[in-house]
Point group: C2
Chain length 465, copies 2
Amino acid sequence: MSQLDSHLEENASRHEERLMELLRIASVSADSAHAGDVQRAADWVAALLSEGTQLQVETIPTAGHPLVYAESPAVEGKPVVLIYGHYDVQPPDPLDEWLTPPFEPTVRNGAVYARGATDDKGQMLTHLLSTLAVLEVEGELPLQLKILIEGEEEVGSENLEKYVAENQDKLACDCVVISDSSQFAPGVPAVTYGLRGIAYYEVRLQGPKQDLHSGTFGGGVTNPANTLAKLLAALVDGEGRIQVPGFYDDVAELTEREREEFAGLPFDEAKFKKQLGVDGLTGEAGYSTLERRWARPTCDINGLWSGYQGEGAKTVLPAKAGAKFSFRLVPDQDPAKVTAGLRQLFEPLLPPGIEMELIDFHGAPGVVFPLESPAMEAAATAIEHGFGSRPVFIREGGSIPIVNRFAKELNCEVLLLGWGLDDDNTHSPNEKFNLGDFHRGIRSSAALWQQLSECGIRSAECGAT
Amino acid sequence: MSQLDSHLEENASRHEERLMELLRIASVSADSAHAGDVQRAADWVAALLSEGTQLQVETIPTAGHPLVYAESPAVEGKPVVLIYGHYDVQPPDPLDEWLTPPFEPTVRNGAVYARGATDDKGQMLTHLLSTLAVLEVEGELPLQLKILIEGEEEVGSENLEKYVAENQDKLACDCVVISDSSQFAPGVPAVTYGLRGIAYYEVRLQGPKQDLHSGTFGGGVTNPANTLAKLLAALVDGEGRIQVPGFYDDVAELTEREREEFAGLPFDEAKFKKQLGVDGLTGEAGYSTLERRWARPTCDINGLWSGYQGEGAKTVLPAKAGAKFSFRLVPDQDPAKVTAGLRQLFEPLLPPGIEMELIDFHGAPGVVFPLESPAMEAAATAIEHGFGSRPVFIREGGSIPIVNRFAKELNCEVLLLGWGLDDDNTHSPNEKFNLGDFHRGIRSSAALWQQLSECGIRSAECGAT
């Protein structure tokens, strides 16, 4: 065992304590009531990085939540790597479904349960802790690291995107490393070479100026909840095909190689259904479940509300109805074109007596990186060192909008190294992160700095497709 | 002016104070947290009736909220009249839309604003206060009154229906009088000869056993909110025709006379739209707005919920989705047939991975009484005395399920004498009742006991169609 690996093993409890500290901070970026907690999380990350002897740390204010940035010295002839992560978390609702409180991290069966455990505090910390460990053991890093941790990933990363666009020289790098995704399965680590994009909307319908009695007025007045059902039902047909005009025009189809590789992965559909507690799966006709989750666009309603939601029967004709819904996009779909098509779909469906407000929350296209590259190979070797087995190459259904921004603005490859698991309950109650994977992630990360320093990548060689 | 009318005038303030007292009691029958308030309202009504020298008062426990019953002595050769009303109220949500708190009655522009002001505390009290006034002035009533006030009208009247079915002899009468509806317009009092029925449902869909990340799982798993939109959108077609199989089979069409009379009423559609704050009205094609509201069946979604309803964007694939929705029925539709048809409509639309629970809350058929009858004429004369103008004969879109029960179990006519107004915000925030109409209602009610005592109706002559 190397001196570095021994050091990591000796410091395992200290690393876990650090994770628990950060998980105790309720840094919910979507909820303005938690603004103070979000700031506390930023301060905590900055303080941690300040322990690195060679790191220059700064907290960068934005129009929203701050960025935390740190940089080590340039190393002659060696690549520059940018680590990205986020210290903000999703809202914890519904609270009553958590077995232990979301901001009181609790260890059960080798995993820590807390909001943000896997998304992204736990995964992000692996790179920060590996960096501090290398500095502690070696006194210096084998390449230059730039570390950029934001607090608005769960609300669209608008201020980070602006910052990246305006600071291309400062952030210039050969490769970006992000851990905010999953292994393929327990013991089957993965490098994710593709992500879906997203286009997220809220539609608000206003009917009569106030709630009415559904007996006295029903039949005479347009009901906004009835109209909402019509709009939402029009989004997808019975075959799972999205009905937004032009939606499929720019969809990059799966290659034959990809379809074969996905089909060869050890995916157990019966187990997957059991894990979710469902007796069947549906989606776009003609594609396997993995294809539908990773490489085909979708439409999901994320929230719905109208009228009376309490106990019993209330005969109300509601004044308002609303929904949040989102599309997952694949290359080469453009979120702006989706928005235009959506208006084209909805507007003819609006009856007299209804006013619609369509809010375009945030969008990002999907992205796919080339499977063969020196950085991908370096990552595979580092993960094999940390996890004991070579990773598979997969795609992911989720979106990390900033990945597109990095690829485009910094003209570089992005390595997506997921330490999480599919059953980590990301964005759901009882989110967790396996502590074993936390430590394997730190070990892989420490090895990655060495592998990348030796792989020979240079800016000129990097580029996203 | 008669001695009775003078007495009513002199006691106007006392009558208003009585109304305010009852409105201060938050007797929300649908919410078990208010069970104590509902009991207090029952006690208050019983105490009021106990002031009537000739009234035998009892509070009758049920499996739910109690009934309050009072009876005056039989009068030889004169009819028996049953007064029905309810002391329970709708939930006050959404609370933040009330200008003044729902259970702190406040007078503005001659109207009292409070939950239950018009539905039904204010209207119901007119008959109780007129009865007490007659007893105070005359020492006796010109006919026998039976007074039955319940506390579960807003939750389906199940226990009252049971009580009526089991106590037909005790409640035997020639005619039932109910004030729980509206005038046609301010200054245009109305006798309502028809009511719509109702069939109220809640549908609950369960998809995956918990909320999931819509990126990681979207496209692979059936989304219950998407399915809910499909089910609800299938209820009504683009022409406003309800798609439940067999729904229109038993619908009694409007007569030519009715269509002509409705068309002759002073209904100002432009003003109606302005009052509701909408730029257009929709509903079943081929029928006028009044016809659609009074005499055609409808389907309205009353409540909707799923997933994330908070601020910002949460990328969740929800585990559950639900809705409350109801049909307004007309003679001769049967709620049980609607339930069967609804299952027939929904079941084929359920995709794999979704479980449906369909809750049948309560149902009642619609009802229409004959326009020509001595009791209708007596009511018209009494209202002319109280309001200064002869009433029009109209139908109402709302449901009073117990009306059907009275007509059927007691084999008698039901007089629906509405003192309220269409803009009283029944079931909505800022419910109100005009105090002028409150006093005119008391005056009409006092005259009604006299008119009915002289109209010559007897049990044998009464009967609903």
